[in-house]
């Protein structure tokens, strides 16, 4: 009797001739995600993957739940194709499940057994196998009752090259294997939104490279550490992240000294986009990703987004565009970035935030204002001084 996990993948099925490519990518991502666990192996079978030699470390399942491309998974017991072995495994799992649900011995616990066999040479058919396993469980565990319509627990038996028994089907992260859909540059602040945006894009199979704008001494070393921590959490889903820390103080100071103050934020964002685009070209990425959500703040009105888009020619993905702040926060909690995002490290960039920002900037005026600084030179200098960090979970 061996503890394994049975991983199902979803959308990949849709891909025609590309399918082997997606399957290989997913395989590699699963292997990488499970690297920290010694001895654990991954095996590809028809329509699914098996994670074997799991041992007793439950964190393996947490890691599996974070791999994009897996639609659901089940902790299972792998046994010989033998009725007695299958019956014993079913008993172990059902008892565990009952314990986990704190089902008291006195109350009736309902269940059913569902069997499938892809190995048609197995000497019992599905119905017979279910009956044998069910009967055994009823004899072994008191207060158990069969309910085929609405059971509290379903014991699944699959007879393939081995027999697999499982009770739980846990939802996976969904989406597509990271790396199968190209690469994009994520503009990552220390806030709540941008990590969620990165997560959503990675979920669609995109490899994420991050840029962060650092305005020392207006933002501290600690706020940079916070962004590194956020990357670490994200990398549990998207694999290693290359983080580009861009020195941004000089650009902010120049804008502050030379440009109209009500446009500071929009101008700053244009510079951020441009630098991100330069990084994207270098990294062979094909799009930019931001955490903007329509109307959330002055720089996220339609007019402002137009003015920001105007600075670059690359497509800009804004996966949060239609989400409410509350929804974004909920998702951040689920992903695990929320607690880090809300850490209150000083952000003294507020002096560069206009007291009365324009909410509907006119594109021509923004372009005019921008000419007051030597944009090319500033960007070149910032890019030349980028600090690159490779971050892994």
């Amino acid at each position: 009797m061996e503890r394994v996990a049975l991983l199902r993948y979803g959308e990949i099925h849709l891909k025609g001739l590309n399918r082997p490519y997606f399957e290989r990518a997913l395989y590699n991502n699963i292997v990488k995600a499970l690297e920290p666990y010694e001895g654990v192996t991954v095996r590809k079978a028809e329509g699914r993957y098996y994670v074997e030699n799991i041992g007793d470390d439950p964190r393996v399942f947490d890691s599996i739940a974070k791999v994009f491309g897996i639609i659901s998974f089940s902790p299972a017991l792998k046994v010989e194709k033998d009725v007695v072995a299958i019956q014993k495994a079913a008993e172990v799992l059902l008892r565990e499940a009952m314990e986990a649900q704190a089902a008291s011995q006195k109350e009736t616990f309902t269940f059913k057994v569902e069997s499938r066999r892809s190995d048609k040479s197995f000497y019992l058919n599905s119905m017979e196998l279910s009956r044998k396993v069910g009967g055994y469980l009823l004899r072994r565990i008191p207060n158990l009752k069969v309910d085929v319509h609405n059971p509290m627990m379903t014991v699944n038996v699959e007879v393939r090259e081995w027999a697999y028994v499982y009770c739980q089907i846990i939802p996976g992260a969904g989406g597509m294997p990271v790396g199968t859909n190209g690469k994009a540059v994520l503009l990552l602040s220390g806030g709540i939104d941008s990590p969620v945006a990165g997560w959503m894009i990675a979920k669609r199979g995109v490899e994420v490279t991050a840029v962060h704008y650092h305005s020392f001494p207006y933002t501290s070393e600690r706020s940079k550490e916070k962004v590194i921590d956020l990357c670490r959490i994200l990398s549990q889903y998207c694999g290693e992240i290359k983080l580009h820390v861009v020195p941004f103080t000089k650009i902010q100071q120049e804008l502050y000294q030379k440009c109209p103050h009500n446009m500071l934020t929009i101008l700053m964002r244009r510079f951020m986009m441009r630098i991100a685009e330069v990084v994207a070209h270098k990294e062979d990425a094909k799009a930019l990703v931001t955490g903007e959500s329509l109307g959330q703040v002055a720089s996220q009105t339609i007019e402002s987004l137009c003015a920001t888009n105007d600075a670059v020619s690359m497509p800009v993905f804004r996966p949060l565009i239609g989400m409410d702040k509350i929804e974004i926060m909920d998702l951040a909690r689920r992903i695990g970035t929320y607690e880090t995002s809300i850490l209150p490290y000083e952000d003294c960039c507020t002096i560069f935030v206009p007291k009365h920002p324009v909410t509907r900037p006119k594109l021509e005026k923004v372009r005019e204002a921008e000419k007051l600084v030597e944009g090319e030179k500033l960007i070149e200098e910032a890019v030349a001084n980028i600090e690159v960090l490779n971050i892994k979970g």
Partner: protein, 384 residues
């Protein structure tokens, strides 16, 4: 970056090399548990006694009155909650000031939730509480008066001696607790002569390691312990003694006996003179420098945020603080600067320079020069 200048000694100090050696020796060789019956235990017990006596000597008190704790915060908690619990039948009113350290203020906040009444006395523009205010606040049910000796953010010195005297003249004689974490080792403290019943001190502010402090208790004062166990520290504070910390504390105090107490005032004098000459518009918060503590100087450059200045200075190798370390991470205004009536831009622009005996005169001049540089770089980016 060349030489680094550490001017955040009110937050914590580097451990003195001699102290580190004593701590190392204690961890590697005299590692016994003072409660053990064998020779190793006895050896540790002797070290414990020695350290206790050292500290008692420095305070001019009996060694039996010194109880080791995990630091200043625990000493303050023990003094305040311990007294409140021990005297709850006599009354439930306490007096403190608006500018205490969070380990005192938040302890009183807790007591308020539990049904005690607390009077928070104001301070004047120099950050000093008036003894008359203390006298007027006393009620028949006042059981505890807790006032810090030196304020950690602006260095103001409270009239402890006077307050102690007037408290002793009271009929019901409330317990007098003094948080001396910032003054111990820098200013004279005479608990016996000044009528202090409880006094908190901490090791890491005077070049001992973190995690060690002490509470002095006058003989006859009763407090209720806050933790129970093997009855160490005569039942006041159970738990195996932090021997490396205690030995380090004792050694630091021994070393302080040799230092020239006026040295810090000389350093501060140089720093103030250089700074006011180079940046004439700098605002000094709290008491005039010569009237404040010798090691703390709070100065503002209105319009330049304290945190920004702090980071700009660290880039050039000068480490300073903004208020207390505990509050510098929160966005809002310091309660101390608010209490002395500082304007918003002054309060937000405050940095704290705090000195130790390990700083040099030359460092003061260099620091002033670097501060001037940073001010020049940043003054163009004041929020308009």
């Amino acid at each position: 970056m060349g030489h680094e200048i550490y001017l955040d000694n009110a937050a914590t100090t580097p451990v003195h090399p001699g102290v580190a050696e004593a701590v190392m020796e204690c961890m590697l060789h005299d590692f016994g548990n003072p409660s053990s019956l064998h020779r190793m235990g006895l050896r540790a017990d002797k070290k414990l006694k020695e350290a206790r006596e050292r500290i008692a000597l420095a305070l001019g008190v009996d060694a039996e009155g010194v109880f080791f704790t995990s630091g200043g915060t625990e000493a303050n908690n023990l003094a305040i909650i311990g007294t409140a619990l021990a005297r709850k039948r006599e009354g439930r009113h306490c007096i403190t000031t608006q500018i205490e350290h969070p380990s005192v203020l938040n302890t009183f906040k807790y007591l308020e939730k539990e049904g005690w009444e607390v009077t928070y006395l104001p301070v004047n523009r120099d950050g000093v509480v008036s003894p008359d205010d203390v006298r007027r606040a006393i009620r028949p049910d006042t059981v505890l008066v807790s006032i810090m000796h030196v304020n950690n953010e602006i260095g103001s010195i409270q009239p402890i001696q006077e307050i102690g005297r007037l408290l002793k003249a009271q009929g019901n004689s409330p317990v007098f607790h003094v948080d001396a974490v910032q003054s111990f080792g820098k200013l004279d403290i005479k608990p016996v002569q000044w009528g202090i019943d409880l006094l908190s001190i901490s090791g890491h502010k005077i070049h001992a390691p973190k995690g060690i402090g002490a509470l002095y208790m006058r003989k006859g004062v009763k407090i209720h312990p806050l933790q129970w166990g093997g009855g160490q520290e005569r039942g006041v504070r159970s738990g195996t003694e932090n021997m490396p910390g205690i030995v380090g504390f004792g050694e630091a105090v021994r070393w302080l006996e040799e230092v020239d107490r006026d040295y810090l005032y000389r350093l501060k004098g140089i720093l103030v003179a250089e700074l006011t000459e180079k940046v004439p518009w700098a605002v000094i918060n709290g008491p005039p420098p010569e009237k404040g503590a010798p090691h703390i100087l709070s100065v503002s450059f209105p319009g330049i945020r304290g945190e920004v200045m702090l980071h700009a200075l660290e880039e050039k190798g000068v480490y300073v603080g903004t208020g207390s370390a505990c509050s510098s991470r929160r966005g809002h205004m310091s309660h101390v600067l608010e209490a002395i009536g500082a304007k918003k831009d002054v309060a937000q622009g405050a940095i704290r320079l705090s000195l130790s005996y390990l700083n040099t005169e030359d460092e003061m001049r260099q620091a002033a020069r670097i501060i001037e540089q940073c001010v020049k770089e940043l003054e163009g980016f004041v929020r308009r």
